[in-house]
Symmetry: C2
């Protein structure tokens, strides 16, 4: 089951790439409608989800905010504005991270950071093992 490249999917992808921004689904919806006026918002949502699963774009789930989609699927961190919620790429290697370095990137003034460690909790590990046995 390969990825079927429909007209709408291609336009969603192309318009996001053209934007060079980190757009929300509804922001992109407005842009895409100019090219394909009859496209539905659900289609934009669906395709953004599919494209990010496929790895053609990136998905940004920012704390307490609307999801954004990244034209660049490559590995990199992000910086984001606590006032207007705009997101920018942080093209700086972890080794080089100093408050001064970061402060200069994209002209942001740094106010803090947020780190989430992701994993599978003990209970869910047990459940997974049970399933494996069946």
């Amino acid at each position: 089951m390969p990825l079927r490249m429909t007209n709408q999917r291609e336009i969603v992808l192309r318009e996001l790439q053209k934007s060079k921004k980190h757009l929300t689904a509804d922001e992109l919806y407005v842009i895409v409608k100019k090219v394909m006026p009859r496209i539905s918002l659900a289609t934009v949502y669906r395709n953004l989800e599919i494209l990010s699963e496929t790895g053609l774009i990136g998905k940004l789930e920012i704390s307490g905010r609307q999801k954004r989609f990244d034209y660049d699927p490559g590995e990199h961190d992000h910086i984001y504005c606590v006032i207007c919620h705009r997101v920018d790429n942080l093209d700086i290697a972890h080794e080089d991270w100093t408050p001064e370095q970061l402060r200069n990137v994209a002209g942001y003034s740094i106010t803090g950071y947020r780190l989430e460690i992701l994993g599978i909790c003990p209970d869910c590990q047990k459940k997974q093992k049970k399933k494996e046995k069946i």
Copy 2:
């Protein structure tokens, strides 16, 4: 204008602290209703927000998920399960962070991390300066 400690506010705070968990507003609502059956969900939401602004509890805005509230307002990171979305405290200093150390904490198996640098973007800095002049 000091924080007025109402009955409902006190119970919301006390029941969250008693739980020793990272609860969502609606989870806490169910608990609080047992003590104060006529309390409204909006009141629980409102007071959790106020209590976290005041610094009596912590607010966890986890990417793409429901907000959770932390009985412990102190500075510490969190680990969270990508399957059941449960959250646990990570009581381990940044200096001591190694994959092995983290793997042992709370029995999680680590799958990744998410880092967000927060700041004020150049445009918003300009706007702030304009306001200061007025």
